[in-house]
Amino acid sequence: MSHTLGRYRRFTSNFQCSYSVYRALTRALHHGQRLSQNARAGWETVVGLEIHAQIASHSKLFSGAGTQFAAPVNNQVSFLDAALPGTLPVLNRRCAEIGVMTGLALGCHINRESRFDRKHYFYADLPQGYQITQQRQPLAEKGEIPYYFFVANDMKSPTKLSARIHHIQLEQDSGKSLQDPEQNMSLIDLNRAGMALMEIVTEPDFRSGEEAAAFVKELQLILTTIGACSGVMAEGAMRVDATVSVNKVGEPISTGVRVEIKNVNSIRGVAKAIEYEFSRHISLLEKGEKIANETRAFDAENVETISMRDKEKVHDYRFMPEPNLPPLRIYDNQTLSSDLSPDQVINVDEIRSSMAATPEERRLALQAKYGLSLEHCQTSEGTEDFFTAVMNADTTRDIAIVYQLLFSILLSFTNEHKIPVDKSPVDIVKFGDTVDLLCSKRITYQVARNIFHQYFEAADNRPVEQMVDEEDWWIITDKTLIEEHCKKLMAESPKKVKNHKKGYRECGFHKAIVVRTQGRADPVLARQVVEENMGKFVKKK
């Protein structure tokens, strides 16, 4: 019980100072301090990311074939995907629109004209012998997105960081190869060949694996929120390549040899792969060895990276403009002329006005509307909608109490049960009723916790008031009753009374009173009664 009380108090104090803490932290963690904070023994790392995100479209980038995950092998393959001679790519408009939407969500400039190029290499799961991509004139460029980084062991105070997006390009995915070394055979599945990818390339703006992972998490949230990508990394819908270099603190950043880690497919993997690489570089550099400029794969099971290709083998992709696709033109309200049919053109203004708000926009809106602190806007899926629904049901509700109950108590249950908040047995009505009992000071927070415990652990389905009534959980505001508890405690522990009065140590009887009333005692009244009987605690110097 005392454990619970402790948690309760910490939340209270945190709630009061969180915003100023955040401000202080962001001021303190400017560039230089970030570096030294993440540096190890005089070394620091610089990381840039390339994220391949599969576009959530029903058909492929240049063909009408389907895009379902785990469809029967070679069952979503058009003539184009199999590279039959004479087939021509036709751009799937939906994919381009999603690309534009993503560019806008990532704060990019949308190029009004972008082009497609062929990138050549021979591989059995690349039937054309080249990938159609956007090497020289990508769809979107020069973006920047804020993301939130939680310093280790402090999950309450996120640091707001920012990463720049170099560009976003549209490109084709490859097929999949399965090696059968025993029979000396490669098996090819072309279902994925030609699916639409966005390659999102960042500037080298990350100083640790954790930062990079936090960015990927934010990116994932953005892409799923706007409906651009399923974000399911386990299905390969988002795959991360990280370029890592390590240099001595004080030397210009990015002077170290760059190593690329390919195809990391979990957020934890991103952090681990980079941290592993950081350590590997340091240990090699400290031995005086050179870092090979190479591509490495991340082995998630053994938490290590493994060299993929011979470092001497330089690939020349022999880029060439794709001659079968006209430039991709994007219009806006100004450039849209009347002779263009609206269903044939992509209008960036139209996309902007119809797209869902990004997570950051929603956070800012919450902050503005309800005065929520940033950490409370750093919400898991559905929390924000839940919060808004509770507030919309009764706008007079005390915001402080609503989010205290939501973030401190309800989320601790949902997190423990690993369910999203909108699947919680405490629905918006039950939650709202609990809030109202708190607001009218008819129950305590500890009782609120007990109520939620009943719903989560005992499959209780009684309405809130009925439960409180039947369990006799109403708040104790009878001063005489509390005084009785206080006198009893004073009689039991004369030593604590002495220490308190002499200013050595606070007696903590107000907490004990709450415990002895199964959490029902009004904590404010309890404190007041203790002070009246014992005097205010003044610490002796």
Partner: protein, 564 residues
């Protein structure tokens, strides 16, 4: 008689009932069989033709029609994909490849009820100007050709014929057998290794008597040009990247039309150079070209480079003699007075210019100063796109896969590609990969694109000052002899042959080669008319006027081969 008719005439005959589809088809089949030694077809689709003709006839009798081409025999160059029929590009790498879909051009013909006689021969992947570098052997020009093998092969053909027709759907394979036999029998120069690998001193001209020599059909759409000239088809599809429709048209005495880039869909046309390729039309007359163009042109959702504006059909000229040339401005590019231009071609060109002037047109000399860079520019752009387009032929999904090369995927690629491509293709792949290397890209590819723009601007400049149509020779000479042609390799000959035709592809312009006269040797000479983008109406009207003025003698084989 019937087989010398134009497309327009045969459409009329079909409409007025003076001939029926099946009878017409049989006549063409007989002609196909009698002209086999010209090697114009890689795959004869005679069984398909018969069933299509039969269906057409049923429609005819019931008074319905699919369209203007209902019942008309046509031929298709073997680089257009045909559903269920081998499409080889005359290359070993695509031997046995049967596409699961029709090229848009083929589909549009079939939608009109056309009867497909077969897939015509070409230079491997359309790389060539002679139709000699085919894995199925060279195409021969019917002009001044002595059908010496016809009588000897007659019995043999009939035997094979029954075999072929009894085995529906398998005609491609049988045809392959026949071809490889005929290669052995009559021409030892071509085979798996490709002709360009044969040393000059081993050339066929040395082992053959001079009388056995024959005229080159021109390429790469040589098979299609020969099919039209010999009457085995009344129209044929070709493809034109640097002159591949106009050159064989010129050598074989037929009309060869290269439309404005983007007017005809390339979907299903196996590419040579995507940014230069256009499907082309080969017919006996300009009117026939107009009929074909109106059937084929217009936007295709499968080809993003086709024009999206609705196609405005070209109106045929019913009374060309009544056309007034007043106000027409004909330009004569001075750079086309090129080295190697034969005197009989020059004379035909001059006469044509005089003819226009005499009938009231303004004829003036114009300059296209960058034309001379076209060949070198083309050789770079072509090699680059070829190296890229050929990357898909790896023997994994389709086409030739080498045997006993399974040490690794790379070994399999190398062996399959080495066996599958001839020297010409391999050479262009190698060059293209070199030009596209990161360190070379600006020097070659970007530079070539700049030059291409200059060539294109030359034309735009000339047309902007009021010139309506340019008049040039199509080729330097009339059809050359095989023995002469083989003295140089494919690259040299292509550079020579394409000189007048290639700049037009660089600029994406429409151009048509119209037979003008016979050379001193008695083989056809064609002249080329070039117009601005989308000027098909005016260009073909001018060509039509010229055609009716010159009364070019149409080739008739009826006397030689006998008409049924």
């Amino acid at each position: 008689m019937m087989l010398s008719s134009s497309l327009k005439e045969v459409i009329n005959s079909l409409r007025n009932g003076s001939i029926q589809s099946k009878e017409l088809c049989e006549k063409c089949i007989r002609r196909v069989q009698k002209t086999r030694e010209l090697n114009s077809f890689i795959t004869e689709t005679l069984d398909i033709a018969r069933s299509q003709a039969s269906e057409s006839q049923a429609r005819q009798l019931s008074g319905s029609s699919l369209g203007i081409l209902d019942g008309v025999p046509v031929a298709v160059k073997d680089n257009f994909s045909t559903l269920g029929v081998q499409t080889s590009c005359a290359s070993a790498i695509l031997k046995g490849y049967v596409p699961p879909y029709n090229a848009t051009m083929v589909q549009r013909l079939l939608d009109q009820g056309a009867v497909m006689m077969g897939k015509t021969n070409l230079d491997e992947f359309a790389m060539g100007s002679g139709s000699l570098d085919s894995v199925y052997g060279p195409v021969r020009n019917p002009w001044k050709y002595t059908f010496q093998n016809y009588e000897a092969n007659k019995q043999d053909d009939l035997n094979k014929q029954s075999l072929r027709f009894s085995n529906k759907g398998n005609s491609a394979n049988h045809k392959n057998n026949i071809q490889s036999e005929s290669i052995k029998n009559s021409d030892s120069t071509n085979g798996q290794n490709g002709s360009s690998g044969i040393p000059e001193d081993m050339d066929v001209s040395d082992t053959r008597s001079e009388e056995c020599d024959w005229y080159v059909s021109g390429g790469s759409s040589g098979g299609s040009a020969v099919a039209v000239a010999t009457g085995t088809a009344f129209a044929a599809l070709g493809s034109d990247t640097g002159g591949s429709v106009r050159i064989p048209a010129s050598y074989c005495g037929v009309v060869g039309f290269k439309p404005t880039y983007s007017l005809l869909s390339r979907y299903g046309l196996i590419p040579l150079v995507n940014s230069l390729d256009v499907p082309g039309i080969l017919t006996k007359t300009v009117d026939d070209t107009v009929i074909m163009l109106n059937v084929l042109a217009g936007h295709d959702v499968h080809d993003s480079t086709t024009m999206t504006d609705p196609y405005k059909p070209v109106l045929a000229v019913d009374f060309p003699e009544k056309i007034s040339l007043k106000g027409l401005h004909i330009g004569i590019p001075k750079e086309y007075h090129a080295p190697g231009l034969a005197s009989d071609v020059l004379s035909a060109w001059d006469k044509a210019a005089d003819l226009f002037e005499a009938h009231g047109a303004t004829v003036s000399e114009v300059s296209l100063p960058h034309t001379r860079f076209s060949i070198v520019c083309y050789s770079i752009l072509c090699a680059c796109e070829v190296s890229s387009n050929m990357a898909r032929y790896d023997g994994i999904e389709f086409g030739h896969r080498a045997q006993n090369a399974d040490a690794s995927t790379e070994a399999l690629y190398a062996a399959s590609r080495h066996e599958g491509f001839n020297d010409v293709v391999r050479g262009r792949i190698l060059a293209g990969n070199y030009f596209l290397l990161n360190k070379n890209y600006d020097t070659y590819f970007i530079q070539a694109q700049k030059v291409r723009k200059l060539i294109s601007e030359d034309f735009a400049c000339v047309f902007s000052v009021g010139v309506d149509v340019l008049l040039t020779p199509t080729t330097l000479t009339g059809a050359p002899k095989y023995s002469w042609y083989k003295r140089e390799d494919n690259r040299t000959r292509t550079e020579q042959q394409d000189v007048f035709t290639q700049p037009i592809n660089m600029a994406g312009l429409p151009a048509v080669s119209v037979p003008a006269s016979l050379s001193d040797e008695g083989v056809p000479i064609g002249l080329q008319f070039i117009g601005p983008m989308f000027s098909e109406q005016k260009l073909l009207t001018v060509a039509r006027w010229f055609e009716q003025q010159v009364h070019f003698p149409r080739l008739s084989l009826d006397g030689i081969l006998g008409d049924l």
